[in-house]
Symmetry: C2
Subunit: 351 residues, 2 copies
DNA sequence: TCTGGCACTTTCTGGCATGGAGTGCCGACC
DNA sequence: GGTCGGCACTCCATGCCAGAAAGTGCCAGA
């Protein structure tokens, strides 16, 4: 870190400008940039030879590299990083785009519809892949719980949340219970927990378990135990929706079919990718992983722009755009940012 | 058709054998086959020159074609079709494979788990893409219905089916109803329909609607009307699960990245593909679409092997394997066939 | 410190020759 | 009439070469 700081300061204004122009041009055109072109594009009154010297310096610092001796320079991860951190001028979104986004994130949809729309929006506006995790369920209000007997000492629990969400889980219990026993148990739990957030409901149950201890009859104990099972596991949550994977097939930057394949596999396996998104849950606002920064090999040639989305200042999930490192950061960042905001709003008014 | 019949008969035994050997070799090696090699491989005592004459005939009939003048021959769609219809010797599955399959389709899983497993199995065993539609819900038994009031004259209906399946739908009603009114309505519907198949339940509701006509009070009318809504639309069903898409990226037959992309898009758009699968629902047993036979452009270079799966002789859905036309039909067909059978069995014992 | 000049490297392209694989056809033979 | 050997021809793939284009690095001079 210290090293980077130091280097940043040792770049004079002209050098920085040249790096900026180089990266901007590389992002928009995709070709390595040579000294002659860069000299012209920079609109500085300097000769290509001078530019060559500057570029050599930039290469020594590790901000650019050349694919081979006579091929101009392209930005490195480190170069993109400096660019994004210190020279990026965010493109404001057109009012058109904003209203289109707002329209697509209509709170009338149910939760999974919203998530799907957000993902489609990200993918559509950026031409890359959009990813949105399902909102955490812990803060949603429990409205109603119901138990139904299954065979083999199993019970189906149906939990209705405050939105149009219905969750169901299979519980394992110590003996068979009749329908009316389960009804009683459900009543008991409902009285205790209805209207509470899932987390609160869970704590209540635990408190109850503590308070009653031995003076519980069999049924009550069972009821509480079932309640515990119901509210405990964060469930089969923590999942995400990807839209526009196929967009990534268009970028020759990622054209290596092998790499593309492992990237797609990572998307469908979800594990690694979820871990990355999890890391962004604590960051507030947009976060950017360029190339190898993410730490996952499959993402070596990709950049990931993420942002958590919140309801009432509570982080509910994360959304992201995945594309080639050579992307228009200035366009993508505000899109990710605004989508996160709008998704949060939509989820909120839905409550 | 008549034309094909005619041609089939005009192929003498030797010609057929040569076509068979040619196709088998092309399937396993992937290179166009020339006359010299084919003469050797056929183990007939004939010279390459003779084989050339035969091949020319086969080309005239449209069973093979050559990519260019000096490149040997490859099978056409029509060639594969003849091969599959008349010369294919199905490879029996090893007992090992069978037991592995049985193990993976353990009825203890819930429905979506089974579908997922079946799809994974198809993809894993064939090295191609596996597709399985979710089972139709019409024949599942309704166990229990419940209504919950939402805002804006909407009601959340929860339908518990006989397996561990829970469906929920949002109904629009003519006025706000209180919780207890809805409770009554639910009781009414439950009495009428519990234990019935979804289709029967629907008919019952319709009969009831007819029977009561004007002598219904407001609540009953509403109850029946809601019941009608609940059981009517086949719901947001008719969906499928794809596993192993990425496998298809390995075949150079499909290496055209553009085509691959539109294929993947077709998978995720689902519409076209569902239409194809729907067509197989009436066929009994395995069905094969080779290349352009499917009628969908994206599948031009693919073959699709499908089979419906049934519970109690009732078709519940369709499963399929999608791969390049150049696939080992003799291996894939029994896999699709058995997977369909086992999936049906698993769904059945689960009931 | 900047600049022009120059030698050098690398990629890309087209042309060309060569070898290999395979076809089509002809004429001969059984 | 089917089968076969022979031969000319086509097309692809490969390697090689040469020339052009793009760009660098370095040096010497202002």
């Amino acid at each position: 870190m210290a090293a980077i700081e130091e280097q940043k300061y040792s770049l004079n204004e002209r050098t920085q400008l040249l790096l900026k122009v180089l990266i901007e041009n590389y992002i928009s055109e995709g070709h390595p940039l040579g000294s002659r072109t860069l000299a012209k594009r920079s609109e500085l009154e300097i000769s290509p030879a001078t530019v060559r010297n500057v570029m050599a310096d930039l290469e020594d610092f590790g901000f650019v590299k050349s694919p081979h001796t006579s091929a101009g320079r392209v930005p490195t991860t480190k170069g993109y990083r400096l660019f994004v951190d210190t020279m990026l001028k965010i493109q404001p979104l057109t009012t058109d785009t904003v209203s289109q986004m707002r329209q697509n994130l209509d709170p009338a949809q149910d939760v999974s519809g919203l998530v799907e729309s957000a993902s489609t929006l990200l993918s559509g506006l950026t031409g890359m892949a959009g990813v949105v995790t399902l909102p955490k369920i812990e803060r949603a209000e429990v409205r109603h719980v119901e138990f139904l007997p299954l065979s083999d000492r199993r019970v189906l629990a149906i939990i209705v949340m405050n939105r149009q969400e219905v969750q169901n889980r299979i519980l394992h219990v110590d003996r068979e219970y009749t329908e009316s026993e389960l009804q009683q148990a459900a009543n008991y739990i409902n009285e205790l927990c209805a209207g509470q957030e899932l987390v609160t409901a869970r704590r209540k149950i635990l408190d109850e378990l503590d308070r009653l201890r031995e003076h519980m009859n069999d049924l009550m104990r069972c009821a509480v135990a079932m309640g515990e099972q119901v509210f405990s596991g964060s469930g089969p949550q923590s999942d995400y929706v990807v839209v526009g994977q196929t967009n990534l097939m268009e970028y020759d930057d990622l054209s290596n079919i092998e790499k593309l394949r492992s990237l797609f596999e990572a998307f469908s396996q979800k594990r690694e990718f979820l871990r990355l998104l999890d890391r962004c849950i604590c960051a507030q606002g947009v976060q950017i992983f360029i190339g190898q920064e993410s730490g996952y090999e499959v993402l070596d040639d990709c950049s990931v722009i993420t942002s958590p989305y919140t309801v009432d200042d509570e982080v509910m999930g994360v959304l992201a755009v995945v594309g080639p490192t050579r992307m228009s950061y200035d366009r993508v960042i505000p899109i990710v940012d605004l989508t996160a905001r709008l998704l949060g709003e939509a989820l909120n008014t839905q409550n």
